[in-house]
Each structure stands twice: as structure tokens, then as C-alpha cells.
């Protein structure tokens, strides 16, 4: 269009027309380049969004159903003939605490020795048209349910002799069958359930005994090998939480203080240059190397316990420190020098300039840096494998020195479980929990940034 409008005309001021013509021609070339560049950019953004959408879609599609599992509600009669071990000891009957504790433990041991499985078997048989074998019945519910029933009775011995509704979580294999995650047309020798077990399951689905329920135990139970259906993330979650506490307590004060010193106080010379280069390099070191360092220093040299959140937290702190230092130095450098000059000109000392003026301005940036660093640490797996955090731990850790695992490691363990068609959706569910935690942390970062934002 411009070409037409500015077509060369033999005007008297020929030189100007010629240069205008040249510009007009280069214009269309420039415009094409611009259009091309924008198209590349747009394509890149669209591709990125598509990948993210695809990722979330697959994870949600596979993981969300795992939050609901098959369970059957049956009427369990707590028959005294099977489980009665007498009344629970009371403190008043014993001369001292030790004697009472010993008697109470003996009572609990006696209760644990009782056959709760037979009670469940009776209850299940009651809803079936034809009685099934003990073996088949044990295969259809999660083994952990026997212990849950026992713990209920131990907590409230008054239940003995009564009939209570009890929701049994179905075993992993039944859950797979229930959700149709296995090809039903496969021959019996390739199925996880025997024909008899399939029939029991189908009968219970048909009469409405077996239903899909929200799997709250994913959040409250620890990992379990013997009862995968009732395995949960509680242990890993607490382990991650303790590690994050260590990371925040160590890397934030050290990182921020280090960044402030390097940026505001340290002289600019070869030594500080060297330190800066090394910090930047540290941020790029593969995380598994930090794991090796942690194993060598914290476990071999300092004899800290294996698989403990303290060690995992220390290793992750080392990893997070460079990130926090670099990001904090970045936000410190972004503070306009005029603020420093203004305060210095009034006679503020260097420390006063930093703490009264610079720091309040960069708090949102530091918070963001911290949370990004912590989120990165939260998702880190490789270094934890080397300090023993990949061990199977069936307890919820109660302190920094307890054995524990971590959320990403739990993910890794579930992902590797041989019961593929049960654990694949389970892994996605764990990913959703981890991602949810990350999104929560990032939302917190954004909230804090808005909250402390100072405009000037």
C-alpha cells in the first residue's frame, strides 16, 4: 500500500523522493520481519500453553479418580466370644505407673492377638448369597482394615458385643476391577482376582454394598506395602514439611544476610568476584551432587541419622542457598540508588540505609525468592535418594531426627510399584497433591508480594 502511495514520481525534488522510495521498500521488508517474529512468538506461547494444558489434563484425568476408591459397608458384630479379653485396666487399680503401663500393654497385646479377620469374614458372608472362602474374602478387602477395626475396639472397649456398620476399603485389586482398569475379558490366569473373587465383587457392586467413596486415607495414612489400597501420603507429607522447616530456618536467614553483605557492604574486588562466580556456579550444580555431598558430610562425617528430615533439609538448604542469594541480590540491585543517596545525604549510616530504606523495599522480592527456592526444594527428589529418604517408612515422623520420606520420593516409590494399574492413578493423585501444595506456596508468594509492595 505504501509502495503505491509513495510510488516514484519524477518530481523536481528527486533525491528526497528516491530516499522515500527506498524507505518505503525497506518498510515492507521490515513489516514482514515483524509479522514473522510475532508469529514465531505466538506459536511458541501457544505450544507452551498446549503442553501445560495437556500435562494438567492427563494428570487430572488419571489422578482424580484415584481420590475415590471402592469400599463396602457391612454390619460387623463384635462378638465377645471371639475378641473379649476382659475390661481394660484402669490406673486406680495399680500401685504405680509402671505396673499400670505393663498391664495395659498386656491387654492391648491380648486384643491384638484376637481374630478380627473372622469377624469381618462373618460380616461379609452375611451380605453374600453363597458363603465365600476365607481366602477369597481376605483378598477383597484391604488388610489394614482388620487393624483399623482392632484400633476402634481398643479405643472404645464398650463396642464389644455390639453390631456396628463398618466401611471396609476394598483391596487394590478389587479397586482396579471395580474401576474397570483391567481388561475383564482376559483369561483367569492373567487376572489379579480369581473367578470366585470376581463374582463376589460383582455381586457386591450389583447389590450396592460396594460403592465409590472419597479416599480420605490418602491424606491421613502412611505408606503401606501389605495394604496398598489404604496407603497414604501422611508420612511423606510430614517428612516434606519438616524438611521445609529446616530449609526455611537455614537458607533464608543465611541467604538473605549473605546477599545483603555481598551487595551492600562487601568491597568489590577479586575475592568478592570469585565468590560471586562460585555462587552462580553452585546454582547450576546438578542436585544429585548435593546429595552426594550430604551423604559424605552429614551422614558419614557428622553421623547424623539416615533418612532423617534434618539431613534432607540440610542438603536441600545447600541447594536453595544460591537461588536465594542470587534472587535477593537481584532485587537489592533493583532498588533505585536515589533512595540510598537520599538516606546517606541525611547522615544515615550504611546499616541504617540498608535496614531503614533498602530492606523494606525488597521484602516482597525476598519473599518471592524464598518461596520459589522453597518450592524448588519441595519438589527435589534426586539428592534425597542419596541420603536414604527413599526408604520405605511406615511411620509418621514426629521430629527432625525420625526416619521419614518425602512427597516427591513417595511419588517416585509409587511410580515404581509393581502393581501398575492401581499405582499409576495413585501416582497421579500424589502429583496433584504436590502440585496443589506448590500452587498454594506460589499463591502465598503473590499474596505477600502484593501485601508488602511499596510504590514510589
Amino acid at each position: 500500500m505504501a509502495d503505491v502511495a509513495l510510488a516514484p514520481s519524477p518530481a523536481p525534488d528527486a533525491p528526497r523522493t528516491r530516499s522515500a522510495d527506498l524507505i518505503a521498500r525497506s518498510l515492507s521488508r521490515r513489516r514482514r520481519a515483524e509479522v514473522r517474529f510475532r508469529a514465531y512468538g505466538l506459536a511458541a506461547v501457544i505450544a507452551a500453553i498446549a503442553f501445560v494444558v495437556f500435562l494438567f489434563w492427563t494428570i487430572l484425568q488419571s489422578g482424580l479418580p484415584a481420590f475415590f476408591q471402592a469400599a463396602m459397608t457391612v454390619e460387623v458384630t463384635l462378638d465377645p466370644a471371639v475378641i473379649d479379653v476382659g475390661p481394660r485396666p484402669v490406673r486406680a487399680d495399680f500401685p504405680n505407673e509402671a505396673a499400670f503401663a505393663a498391664a495395659d500393654l498386656a491387654w492391648q497385646t491380648a486384643l491384638a492377638g484376637k481374630n478380627f479377620g473372622s469377624l469381618i469374614e462373618r460380616a461379609v458372608n452375611a451380605v453374600l448369597a453363597t458363603p465365600a472362602s476365607s481366602r477369597d474374602i481376605r483378598a477383597i478387602y484391604a488388610s489394614n482394615e482388620r487393624f483399623r477395626l482392632r484400633d476402634m475396639v481398643a479405643a472404645d472397649p464398650g463396642l464389644i458385643g455390639r453390631t456396628i456398620p463398618f466401611t471396609l476399603v476394598a483391596s487394590a485389586d478389587v479397586d482396579v476391577w471395580f474401576k474397570g482398569n483391567i481388561d475383564r475379558s482376559l483369561p483367569e490366569n492373567q487376572q489379579q482376582l480369581t473367578l470366585a473373587q470376581q463374582q463376589i465383587t460383582d455381586a457386591m457392586i450389583a447389590d450396592g454394598t460396594m460403592k465409590s467413596v472419597f479416599a480420605s486415607w490418602i491424606f491421613t495414612n502412611v505408606d503401606s506395602r501389605s495394604s496398598p489400597a489404604t496407603a497414604g501420603l501422611a508420612g511423606a507429607f510430614m517428612g516434606s514439611l519438616f524438611m521445609m522447616l529446616v530449609v526455611i530456618a537455614l537458607s533464608v536467614p543465611i541467604g538473605v544476610a549473605g546477599a545483603i553483605y555481598l551487595e551492600e557492604f562487601a568491597p568489590k574486588n577479586r575475592i568478592t568476584d570469585l565468590i560471586e562466580v562460585n555462587i552462580n556456579n553452585l546454582a547450576a550444580v546438578p542436585s544429585i551432587v548435593f546429595g552426594l555431598l550430604g551423604a559424605a558430610v552429614f551422614i558419614n562425617a557428622m553421623h547424623l541419622p539416615l533418612s532423617a528430615p534434618i539431613v534432607g533439609g540440610l542438603v536441600l538448604s545447600l541447594m536453595t542457598l544460591p537461588t536465594i542469594i542470587i534472587a535477593t541480590r537481584g532485587v537489592l540491585r533493583a532498588v533505585p540508588p536515589s533512595i540510598r543517596e537520599a538516606a546517606t545525604g541525611l547522615g544515615a549510616s550504611r546499616v541504617q540505609v540498608v535496614f531503614h530504606h533498602v530492606l523494606p523495599l525488597v521484602i516482597p522480592g525476598i519473599l518471592t525468592a524464598t518461596i520459589i527456592g522453597v518450592a524448588q526444594a519441595l519438589g527435589e527428589t534426586a539428592p534425597l535418594l542419596l541420603v536414604g529418604m527413599s526408604a520405605f517408612v511406615a511411620n509418621i515422623p514426629t521430629g527432625l531426627f525420625d526416619q521419614s520420606t518425602a512427597l516427591p520420593v513417595q511419588l517416585f516409590l509409587w511410580q515404581g510399584n509393581e502393581n501398575r494399574n492401581f499405582f499409576e492413578p495413585r501416582t497421579s493423585a500424589a502429583i496433584i497433591v504436590l502440585l496443589g501444595l506448590m500452587i498454594l506456596l506460589n499463591a502465598l508468594a503473590i499474596f505477600l508480594r502484593q501485601r508488602f509492595q511499596t510504590r514510589w
Binding site: 536515589s338 533512595i339 543517596e341 546517606t344 545525604g345 541525611l346 544515615a348 531503614h356 530504606h357 510504590r455
Partner: protein
Amino acid sequence: MDQPASPPTKMGVSVTSRATEGSAAAAPVKVSAQNVDVFYGEKHAIKGVSINIPERSVTAFIGPSGCGKSTFLRCINRMNDLIEGCRVTGRILLDDDDINDRSVDVVLLRARVGMVFQKPNPFPKSIYDNVAYGPKIHGLARTRAEMDAIVEQSLRKAALWDEVKDRLKEPGTGLSGGQQQRLCIARAIAVSPEVILMDEPCSALDPIATARIEELIDELRQNYTIIIVTHSMQQAARVSQQTAFFHLGNLVETGSTEFMFTNPHDQRTQDYITGRFG
């Protein structure tokens, strides 16, 4: 562009054949520089500058860009300490104290020699806190009432009180450019300095705001020694009593403003103030 084609019309009978120092010699000397050299690394930015600045008057530093006038100004409260690789030699006396002496605490020096910068730079805090900051860190007010009084006085002296008295809690950064600069002046005054350095205080302001600041400078000189760096010849002529002309790191000429603008000794001064270079 803003340089006058001819000297300002302030000339008159008072221009006499007195020495270049003119009226400067009449008042007691507040700041005295003796053979000051400044180096930025290898660069020799100020070359052997000696000047006496009289008390309770306005001294203007003029000169083309990069001539060293701001650098020299920043020597007087040692703001150059902040610049990596900057070295100052020679003596600068404030009253009779060598400001580069070991015994001089730079915090005390900066409390005595306040500074107003080119770009208004209020802290991102309330108007009140902006003014109160200096007195607070120096412990000049023992009670809240004393602080209130200092803040009010300072804002009044900076001719800003009436405009902001009802919104002292609002952020200082919300004011207009001219108001911000007066806030910065109030902030500097609050510490009760003896000398106020102004580094092109009006260069970021419109003509009306500039006029207000100039009026203010004229009033402030009754109590303070003011040194102002300016690019505007008219401004130097309007507000100052003494003028010093810098060129390529040298102090070319200094004297009473009237004298400098009407009868400069040096050809370079003449060329600069008549707008032949700049």
C-alpha cells in the same frame, strides 16, 4: 538552549572594579576548598580547585556538562565516598574542620551539610516520616511533640506546610514533582544543617515549580549557606550571590554573580555565559 544570549539585566551601578572575589570577601567563609583534586580511577575529574564559599549566601556552580561541578559539590559532604574507585585529595574545610580528616565522623558531617538531589527522591514513606527521618536517626527530638514541631517548622520553611498539613500521613511519593522537591528540601532542613548542597534541584521541574523553589532558596539563604549546581544561567543569575564557573575539571573563575555575568575575566566564562558553548 536555556542560556541567555546576553548577560542578565541585573547589572547596574553596583558593579564596580573590585576584585573578582567581590562581595564574597565580605562575609565570613563557611566552606573553604584548597587544592582539591578528584580522581575516578584514572580519570582526573577535578583539577586543583580552591574556592572560598561565604556564609549565609547562595553560591552557584555553573559550567558545561561533565565539567566536574557536581563532583566537586559531592566532595563537600563526602557523597563521593559511595563511589567505588573515587579518590579525593586536598583540603576542604567546613568552618575550621578538615572534612576528610580521620577524626571527622562522616555522619556528623552529613548532618551539618545537607543535600538536595537533581531528581526529587522522597522515601516511599509518609510525608511526616520523610521529614522526621533525619531528626529521628540523629536523636534530635526527645518527644513526639518535639518531633511534630520539627516537622512543622521544616515544612513551613520549605513553603510546603500549607499544602500538606492535612495529609501528613499520605505517601511523599504521591506529591507533584515540585512538591516532592520541596519535601526533599524540608527533609534536609529538618536536621538543621549549616550548609545545603543542591545538585540541579530544578532540572526535573516545570517553570512554575522552579520559580517556587527559587523563591524558597532566596529565603533560605538568611539561615543557611547554600551551594547550588545549575545548568541554567538565568537561574544562577536569579538566585545566587556568588558564581563559580567550572570547565573541564578546572575552576576557571569565581566571583560575585553580578560581576561574573557582566564582566567576566576569562574568555571561556564569557563564551559560556553568552551561549557560545555549553
